[in-house]
Amino acid sequence: MLNIDSIKNGIVIDHIKAGLGIHIFKYLGLDKADYNVALIKNAESSKLGRKDIVKIENIIDLNYEVLGLIDSNITINIIEDEVITKKIKLTLPEEVVDIIKCKNPRCVTSIEPNIKHIFYLVDSERGEYRCLYCDEAYSNMEV
């Protein structure tokens, strides 16, 4: 396996489904980072076969809700003084507020000003969400 230096203080986002790492990398704006970052693609994984990993030599704010939507199986390791001090397992959030807008042109969200766009989880296995107002179905990837 490709050797990437271990992190002193920072974050390792592990167990990313192969191919999704780049989305997380871009979502976190790491392509513009002025600190050490690494995107490892297609690393070997006993659990997943292949996986992506993102390493960040910095403690940054993460929105677990959005990361959970991109891939609910990822693990976030917080590293301090080269030791994992916190391991966070993500799940699909029960409710997603104001991350995307409902696309249904018949939905009340298309006319009401300053409305919160709320989606609720209906099926965690299939990652299915519905708009709180009009029940339009979305997959977690669309969200």
Binding site: R106, C107, V108, T109, I111, E112, C131, C134, D135
Partner: protein
């Protein structure tokens, strides 16, 4: 406890809560006079952002027959909505004046949004093609009063089963009771959506068949629920000409039905039920409209929590 609740989706209430409403409706039907002052001093606001004479009259008649009063608008141009007021602001203001509100809106989810900002109960009287829960309550009370039960029934749903929201809600509602069987009668392209088949019928192991012609199955039915098929919904003209008569109920077909079958229709009817059928004892669609008013009376009383005053 239904006092103070909203009714936005036909499945908002449990079967136990629905029974409470139907029991009260039956008491009202039995002795309407006893309830003539049940809502005296209470105010119903009817917020109709699109015209719907039938539903609005049904709610207004319900409130007036309970001794209550009604304010509202029947089309948005005659209200502050025309000045661009948001739904949130409208319902917050109306909450200051009225005790309960009924909303019809062309946009899906508008009554849900209103309920989130309202301090009074909000009843969804139809939000676009989305939900129309008091139609489902109407259908259920009709079945309860005319068939005496919600179980062990063979229910035929005929017409446009793809886009008809009343049909989807009725299937969901009747699927909560035991041993019902559905016969779904429609052209192939207007069959019930996949999610109704998979998430309701298959999931609960409910017996159903899908057929194209009403005349072939009418003899098996305890209930026939008719809906209109618009010509433009057909896939092509040939299909329309081949099947159109199968979805028009006439006496020739009714004569093949059981003596105690009931014919229901959410109304308005266009040409899917021949006028000659109106005189048959199985035709129940105008009674259904009356049950609609009674069930709205019971619903208003329950949400206001005024039953004890009656």
């Amino acid at each position: 406890m239904l006092k103070g609740r909203h009714l936005i989706d036909p499945m908002d209430f449990t079967t136990y809560e629905l029974d409470e409403i139907f029991s009260l409706a039956e008491k009202i039907i039995e002795d309407e006079d006893r309830f003539k002052d049940a809502c005296r001093g209470k105010l119903l606001a009817t917020l109709f952002y699109e015209p719907s004479t039938r539903t609005r009259f049904s709610f207004e008649a319900a409130m007036l027959r309970l001794g209550g009063s009604v304010i509202g608008f029947s089309e948005p141009n005659s209200s502050s909505v025309a000045k661009g007021e948001s739904i949130r602001d409208t319902i917050r203001t109306i909450s200051c004046y009225a005790d309960i509100a009924v909303m019809r809106h062309p946009k899906e989810g508008a009554p849900k949004l209103a309920s989130m900002y309202s301090s009074i109960p909000v009843i969804n009287a139809g939000d676009g093609g989305h939900q129309h829960p008091t139609q489902t309550l109407t259908d259920l009370l009709t079945i309860k009063c005319l068939k005496g039960q919600f179980s062990n029934l063979t229910i035929g749903l005929c017409g446009d089963l793809k886009f008809g929201r009343t049909v989807h809600s009725l299937i969901k509602a009747m699927s909560r009771y035991e041993n019902n069987r559905f016969i779904l009668i429609s052209p192939k392209e207007l069959r019930v959506p996949d999610y109704i088949r998979k998430e309701v019928l298959d999931k609960k192991g409910i017996e159903y068949v899908e057929v194209e012609k009403l005349e072939e199955v009418i003899g098996e039915l305890d209930i026939l629920y008719m809906t209109r098929i618009q010509r433009e919904r057909f896939f092509n003209e040939e299909e329309y000409l081949r099947l159109k008569d199968s979805y028009i109920l006439d006496m020739e077909k009714v004569n093949r039905a059981k003596e105690d079958m009931i014919i229901m229709h959410p109304l308005p009817r266009v040409n899917e039920i021949d006028y000659e059928v109106d005189e048959d004892k199985r035709a129940c669609y105008f009674k259904q409209a009356k049950y609609g008013m009674y069930v709205r009376m019971a619903l208003i009383m329950k949400l206001l929590g005024v039953e004890e005053n009656a």
